[in-house]
Amino acid sequence: MLIASQILGLIAPQWILLVAAMLVLALDLTLGEEREGWLPYIALLGLGAALVASLSLWNRQVALFEGLFLIDRFAVFFQIIAVLATGLVILASIGYFEGKTPYKGQFYALLLVTALAITLLASAADLVMVFISIEVLSVTSYTLTGYLIADRKSTEAGLKFFLYGAAASAIMLYGMTLLYGATGSTNLAEIGRTLSLASGEGSRWLPIAAIVMLLVGFGFKVSAAPFHQWAPDVYEGAPTPFAAFLSVGSKAAGFAILLRVFLTALPDFRVDWFALVTTLSIATMTLGNLIAIFQENIKRMLAYSSIAQAGYILIGLACWDPQATGRESISAILFYLLAYLFTNLGAFTVVIAVERAVGTNEISDYAGLIRRNPWLAAALFVFFLSLVGIPPTGVFVGKLLIFAAAVRLEYYALVIVALINGVISLYYYYGVLRRVFFLAPRDEAPIAVSTPLRVVLAVTLIMTLGTAIFAQPFIRLALTSAVL
């Protein structure tokens, strides 16, 4: 039996994030406009404290509140991802809202709440907890997407996100009730035990229906086809820093909960969800890459690219086999998510820098970027190399690890489809880079990059290359975190 102070220590990352959010809100009301600039740094301090608190939990393996809430390395890994993503996005949004909205403090506060939601999701081990945490993430995401009320695209994106999201989560909830009905429990581990004891007797169709319905909700969060339609509109309309957050933070959270639920509650139905996940994976990467080719807006292109990336990551789940590749495939997913976090945030930061100078997000605006700011052009080059999966970059290593798991199980078809997709993706990434390097700019004026954006670019660039060149410690980190 744990005493209250011990419990508080174990949920420290969560309450620190909550306190930081409340503090930002309170200071926003009291500081006044001239000192408003402090707020993001206060939010960053809170994130730093939360990071220290999560790192101190690294060696703990505890189930709190009768198994509602698990603290293990898997959870801590995603706490780190949540804090990193939120911290970089806060840095990247400093100055972004100038003249766009008077409510800057609330943005940082709500962003801290989304970070809190991701840390909750990573630890959730009970359907009640899963549902409520996923909804905290969704509801704050709808708000932050529609945040720029003076911008009609932003509110339109917010409403579309909300309508798709509310329907997807209602379907997911219905699937959860079926699982509860089949087992009489909401605890994931207990559901898993009951289902495996009952396998053979009773109807197999009930858990399969539940799996399909859960996949609607989780697939929506990771933007897997055919539940991806929201992503392009939302990425285009949302404030760009928040689009960046959705593409890495929200996606990582979706994969965390997908892994936790499927591998603890439904491992006995692997044969059934294997086919579903494989189909989803192939459809997602092919659709994402093919439609990305035709985009003229860079945020929409990155949206389809991030849909395609979700497809590659799903291969990792399809290749999960408790006997052969259990830990290997989970760790491949974790590594991929970490490398992808830096790469995609970096790409979005370049977009933010260009958007702040040019005012729009058309791909044609990238013509001659190398002459306007060679650093931005070089950074974009590295990030796109990584997104295609060309060495020496982080996502390349991630792809390698995922393919290794697939080859181990002799799922060569999946690898071949993914490789063909890599070639297709080369086409549209090259389309942007061709403009950046070889076309003449419409406007010769150099693009200035603010200091916070430079910091984000430096961190993401170093980590995109670092996760590949010094891959060993990161692979080990992913491997030790791959315990469920």
């Binding site: 579309k160 329907a167 009905g181």
Partner: protein, 102 residues
């Protein structure tokens, strides 16, 4: 006592009415009403399972209360978005929202 399966059938029918509403309605507020039907269908399931499986364990009822909270939060945010859109465009018909192609 009414058997469990009766409740489940009513809930399934209500859920599918909700799906139809979400897919077929043009007005954003009407789509929101469709999702409310789906949430209520899930709630009927939860309470019926709680009563018929293990009424001594309260997880089903707690789950239902959480769904109430979520429904309230979603309605507040969704309707705020509807009002924001209406004030700039004068409509909440989803088909008329075409600034974002998709």
């Amino acid at each position: 006592m009414v058997p469990l399966s009766w409740y489940l059938m009513v809930s399934a029918a209500l859920f599918c009415l909700g799906i139809f509403g979400v897919l077929a309605r043009r007005n954003a507020v009407a789509i929101l009403m469709g999702t409310e039907l789906m949430l209520n269908a899930a709630n009927i399931n939860l309470v019926a399972f709680w009563r018929h499986l293990r009424p001594d364990v309260m997880s089903g009822q707690v789950f239902t209360l959480m769904v109430f909270v979520v429904a309230a939060a979603e309605a507040a945010v969704g309707l705020a978005l509807c009002i924001a859109i209406y004030s700039s465009r004068g409509t909440v018909v989803v088909e008329d929202m075409d600034l974002l192609k998709g």
